[in-house]
Symmetry: D2
Subunit: 335 residues, 4 copies
């Protein structure tokens, strides 16, 4: 048993981590922290009678003493603040769910703020298992990918060799409202979301550069990336359309199947994917179809699980030498 | 390990049984049946990569040979048809999720149809563990309660000694649409449900007599029962208001706490209950408040789990001598 | 043409007033005011190209100079502040949508705060046309009823002569989220509302006393009132169940029909009412059924229209000597 | 006053036509027909107390005798059956909401079935006012555009001169469930739609050829068109993303504004469009943004109004010599 902690347990990804870890055979929840103290079932009354652990005021030193591995479910800036201190003690591993270690320094500072931990940024591993599994196994710091990037990159990767780079990719993404977090905003007010859909931050969302950087690195040349996210009236789930131009004839479904044939958490589908088949799980479902020398790739994930918390536990499994699927949810809520 | 089967696996309660049993440490799914054959992940694509068991055409003999216990997730009439045959072979236990063994003969025939298995009807046990735990442990046939009755009876039971019988109970219940099943009806069409609420079968729903009979038996005198169910725009979840007149002064919250103090799957709340705290679990959350010598009791369950499939597995656990909480879901979907 | 103004135009009831008044043949919008200035289509982009009136900083003097009648779409306390000043100038009528003039002094101060305009409180008319039409026609100040009271009182009135007063009424009400207003609260966050239902302020909501006072006045004796409101996942619409004990045998549907036979905006239904048939209109749909000497009355309204803005315009029509149905919306959004 | 009729009044577009025409100052509803007889408020109980017109069994002769203009709110095949007969009598105009006259013969027969009225097909006018206003004014037969084509073509038209034809357009469209009609299908069952999103008929939907044909005609060269429609959990509303490659530098927002500067029912927006601002109206809201020499155009309509019934009434206005905006809804349901 490894002792694990969660800093930032009061948000949506925090509680999802708690739920996964409560049923995990090799991880033991030994530290829960947030900005103020209390009990986890007071913050999340659904946990009453199931988990009544104390939540402490977050402290990096305590976390490193009490945990073999810490999940940081924090906003950006806070992620690097805690990660740098925890890692400085030398014994505790970190899976950071914030954006702080996902990008190169240049793109990070363009999209977020001045970086305060350049040393660890240089060595952090981008935690998309299908892309960097080997390096994840040996690192002490994983940058857990964003939800949109996870869903988009998994759709694009199999087709990178066949995509016209000059044209690049055009991504139309749709997310449930939990992706916007628990804080109060007009855009999360029920009356604004219900019976509505709209794009936001089109062609300028921070996740665009995260996608672009990862696929450009994989392809070893820059790929133009247009990214338009939408808010849709559902609590969780994410659906992505990627459009691209092919530079050669391919059997697109065969390419997809071959690419993911050994992957446990990517399911290739024979028809358009449905959010309800993945919500509650770590699966990424993918479908693809071509016309007129162009392709449309279609992927779906649970934004809070594969897009955050269950992927973080997979990274933790890999970092600790466990089977990557250990304790990972695979039964969708959908009926 | 006990071998269990499900007949009628293609409906909502069928797939929920599959999901629970896949993670159950002492039950092994050895038989899935429906009206036509196929594979379970073809009927429920969310199970792809997780469970690919064959679904066979339902046959009572086969079921009894291959299973120690069979769940019948069937409509009424079909329940008794299979139960009577399976029980006739003498070795296999049955948990029937249909309405066929829930009522006395008289009320059954008033509300449903002519009963075809009066012998087993006489000995079947009404599977509400909080009410009949002892008898469930020794029976071969459990009649799994309806969803509305489960949620209503659990709210009423603690207050039975203090309720004015002449006045009785007035129940306003709200259910998610999964309660109406998978078949196509105008009343389940998205456009009719979304941005709508309405009562249906008011004062004449079949579950009214199920509630009335159980609470009258418990109280040992007839209790007038007005029951009004509503359809609300959510997939799963059920919320109940019970109004009654008190015949003596009580500390209502204390009565409630005391009554359920040893129950693992009833949670007494300090404020109104929320459907989102129970959906995905077997919990029944209950709150109560009084005014002017009257009380309002407020309960919530997941209509497909505590109202059907997880309660059925609890009954199976009891019938097989296991701890009743073994393998029972307790982590809500809500965040 | 009468010149009308709206103070507090930036909220939900404000914009609904604008929409109704834009199509009203005898009212001309001559003054829009809120806490800060701007243009109405900047606050409500859906009005772009339709109404581009200026919104001014609210001022009672200006309102009284520019308007024959002013609608106050304000929170309590603010209502009486503006109403008292506008009425002091002597020429402008007021329809107040806040709670400030709805209750007797005693109940107002119990439920809200110290009253600052006792003089006008004494003469204000409770603006439920079916109850006080005659007095509305001659007053200068109408207290526009709350949404829950409108829907509940209209359900109860026809049965007042036949209700057991000692038992009184038990009301289970369900409201869309727009009823909670535009301000940001955890309870209006999409993730908390969607796939959820819950009661709030049970047996203690301010509208309970408003209902109780009006029906007690109508019956001329105090009537015990238990009132439990619920939040349901829809933007607008309200549904009410009233339970009561009958003190004599009646043909309940006939009583209902007879009572409302001359009313244009109450529709008696032959089956349970549906929110979707009234949203977008001023209609109150009502159905009733009895069992065991008790009745269940079932009513539905649009909480923002019959529960606020369209009822306010009906009151304005009556106060100005117009036909009460002039310009009142009667086509439901539902399909 | 012109006398107008609706054949196929029992569907969603039928009832929306009724609602618009009831408030139209120059059209009088003189004939309602469907496959069986009844009263309109029995089919649509929300019309009770508002419109109680008889619905007759559809007959082309009767329609032509009783109406100056007939709306056909019918499925394909039925549209041409009635249109050809009504037009043969020589005096009554037709607005056909089915697909029967929208496409060239070749594309019609590829996508639908054998055409039975080639003569009228040759002379029918595609009823998108912004594109064919002049011809609509003088025709006797308008083919009312599909919902997806209306929303997509209006987004594409202003940019046609600047689009790289070889690349063409990639369209990701999202529609509310009313677009799928009133008939019962698994894909319209609440449980399948709620908390879900998915594409359907990707790259093969019938509306793809309708879009492609209209924009190719306007550009006078064939334009590759990838079209992917999605079902989203809302009753009405449609949102479209169009991606394209620019062949020259443009001020994209300025191009858009200039193109639609004289259009009453297209609103150019400064930020991403929202479905809730157009639902309930005939408006098409459009926004555009460019990056890396590519553009994203973003449009929204009410699928049942601008995408069907209100656009049909605009066409009728034009055919009858009225102002095209007469009686057309412009106040959104959104708040």
């Amino acid at each position: 048993m490894k002792r694990v902690g969660i800093i930032g347990v009061s948000g949506y990804t925090g509680v999802e981590l708690v739920k996964i870890l409560l049923n995990h055979p090799e991880f033991e929840l030994s530290y829960l922290a947030a900005t103020s103290e209390g009990k986890i079932d007071e913050i999340f009354p659904q946990l009453s009678g199931v988990c009544e652990l104390k939540v402490e005021v977050a402290n990096a030193k305590t976390a490193s003493l009490r945990c073999d591995l810490v999940f940081l479910a924090l906003p950006h800036e806070k992620g690097m603040e805690f990660a740098s201190e925890i890692l400085s003690f030398g014994t505790t591993k970190v899976v950071d769910l914030s954006a702080d270690y996902r990008l190169s320094l240049e793109l990070y500072e363009k999209n977020y703020t001045t970086h305060q931990d350049k040393k660890n940024l240089a060595s952090a591993v981008y935690g998309l298992p299908e892309l960097h599994r080997k390096r994840i196994k040996t690192t002490n710091l994983v940058a857990n990918p964003g939800c949109y990037p996870t869903c988009s990159i998994l759709a694009i990767l199999p087709f990178l060799p066949f995509l016209d780079t000059k044209f690049g990719v055009m991504i139309d993404a749709k997310s449930g409202v939990s992706g916007a977090g628990k804080s109060l905003k007009q855009t999360s007010h029920f009356v604004n979301v219900n019976e509505n859909i709209n794009a936001y931050s089109p062609l300028s969302h921070r996740h665009a550069d995260e996608i672009k950087e990862q696929i450009s690195l994989a392809k070893k040349e820059p790929i133009s990336t247009l990214f338009v996210p939408h808010l849709v009236p559902l609590t969780r789930g994410m659906l992505v359309s990627v459009f691209g131009v092919l530079n050669e004839k391919i059997d697109e479904l065969e390419v997809l199947r071959e690419f993911y044939k050994d992957e446990k958490f990517v399911r290739v589908r024979n028809e358009p994917v449905q959010v309800k088949n993945v919500v509650g799980t770590n699966f990424c479902d993918i479908f693809v179809k071509k016309l007129d020398g162009k392709i449309w790739v279609n992927s779906a994930i649970d934004n809070l699980l594969r897009g955050a918390s269950s992927q973080a536990v997979i990274n933790a499994n890999l970092m600790c030498g466990f089977d990557e699927g250990l304790g990972i949810p695979n039964l969708a809520y959908g009926i």
